[in-house]
Symmetry: C2
Subunit: 353 residues, 2 copies
Amino acid sequence: MIPEIFLHKKSMRKKRVRKPITILDVAKAAGVSVSTVSRVLNDKDDVSLETYEKVQKVIEDLGFTSSLAARGMRSHRTRIIGLVMPDVSSLYCVEIMQGVNRVIMNSEYDLLVYTNGDINKYSTANHDSRFVMLLNGSIADGVIVVTPKATDFHTTAPLVIIDPNHEEPDYPAILSTNREGAQAAMAYLTGLGHRRIGHITGRLDLWSACQRLQGYKDGLAAAGIPVDDRLIQFGDYTTETALKCARTLLAMEDRPTAIFAANDMSAFGVYQAAEEAGLCVPQDVSIIGFDNLQAAAYQNPPLTTINQSISEMGAIATETILTLLKGETPEEKLKILPTQLIVRDSCQPPGAR
Amino acid sequence: MIPEIFLHKKSMRKKRVRKPITILDVAKAAGVSVSTVSRVLNDKDDVSLETYEKVQKVIEDLGFTSSLAARGMRSHRTRIIGLVMPDVSSLYCVEIMQGVNRVIMNSEYDLLVYTNGDINKYSTANHDSRFVMLLNGSIADGVIVVTPKATDFHTTAPLVIIDPNHEEPDYPAILSTNREGAQAAMAYLTGLGHRRIGHITGRLDLWSACQRLQGYKDGLAAAGIPVDDRLIQFGDYTTETALKCARTLLAMEDRPTAIFAANDMSAFGVYQAAEEAGLCVPQDVSIIGFDNLQAAAYQNPPLTTINQSISEMGAIATETILTLLKGETPEEKLKILPTQLIVRDSCQPPGAR
DNA sequence: CTGTTAGCGCGTTCAA
DNA sequence: TTGAACGCGCTAACAG
């Protein structure tokens, strides 16, 4: 684990070198057996106070901490909850993480966040297999997975999915009324009088994105507006891609008077494109997003969007895992959270000044 | 229009595996020994193609993934970098994480983020010991620690510190010119003509906060302004606490015409307090922060602040760890990044309208 | 090329 | 109350 060279260099200068100190080192130093040390570590009650304190002191002195790996492998209990996220650069994921952490803090568990990093790595096989290590290797007692592409997992540990990619997931799951939320967004825009409404989709390999696209179409149908395929641009939930999509939409001769972005991150890209094109929001183009990120309220103008209580989803998922870990059955296997229109200043009737 | 691959059906549902499947199961099913399976797993070149494919297929069929814990324990190599953060609700930490992740993505390593959750848990002993598990347990090959209170760690794995709590840390470290940055902030305010300048400190148990406080005092001295203790409020880098501090400052009879917050999160609290008090920024009170979070530019008005390239710090720390992991010695043990004044719209001369 | 063997560090039986 | 022995799942020696 440690390059030899590095070790030597350090040991020459300072004696801060600590070869991995194990339970055996503690046992020797304390003049007891490893099993006695183990008992002390796990607060068993069949250890004499005298021995307990002696061992405890040695542990302190040596700065010993038992190995998570070895312990987990043996006891199949680590007191750690794993959170698997597709991407940390997405504020959506960050807010979920905050919600999870809020609940973890008040529990006896610790949080370990695993991320494969790149949202653009559409190859899910790699991602899935890697994350399974977390549990299969008994590193985590339970796992929360965010927007997985996979719908099936090889694991024995409790698993909860946030935003599952399946209508009827095999695991407890938390999701929002994506389609209804999108319908609400569209109803708001058509209610304002918009008839040319563009849509920047999310990652259509995810169910949520498909549902929002469907809601977009529903909204058009409800207002008696035919679908114009040119007004549908395929994004991937990132600001970067949405920027390109928005450029295309705003460069059209008969450009849309409003754009419904599949999520707030995408909506941010529309703001950028509008500014590039010298268009004012909302005078020249109305924008509505989806998610209600904290950052949405800080935009200029503040973004009208559809709220889904993201951090709440993380919190509920964590509580569900905790319930499962206690051996109990959660009340509902599928928890569906309502969405809600949040009106701010990024939309107005078309043509109005 | 929409490719087949994007359609979501509940068609191919596999049966859930219940028992943890091990390398032995694979060996049996493939009719080979465990070591052969191990060789396949680790892409050793001394396996016949025939055997390789046979084993590979069984692995696929059984959905087997090797245990991180067992592997790490045995080989002392996990290809995982650990990131230990004090708090995920701080945007500062989030941006560091993003910087780390950016570099990790292009490496052969994976990222595991560990957080003890509560920034208010000042008891560091607990935190430190828990994080040591990450490495001691051979879960991570190297670790990056963000704003640790501790200055010494019991570990054998490479360690890099971001924002160390010591002038001359025993480990490679990344930090910013906190004192100089604070001086620049103060020079800007005094240059605008402010003479009553409040300061909301950071967590004074952290070196960075002390340095910024020192920079505040330096700035006053440079302008020939005596220190007024009442103008120094003790915060902890959180928006919540800063809000209270700001309320106190703004309620003073001879309230400050400008406030220097030790970080942007704290500055956000000042915005809130100003709004509560019916004061306008920057007409009634100027505000300057420190960090230059992405969110700082979105405030209303956009926050003038001191830039420290946070995500860059994460990136550099990661590159340092990667260098260490290769057995090489990083160029500089202590990397000090310059800070820079970012002028936006939250400051103006006192009294001006 | 492949199988056998010996631990990695720890928790948990069983004896003593 | 304590210690010795075993095995968790895996990789790295060494045989064959």
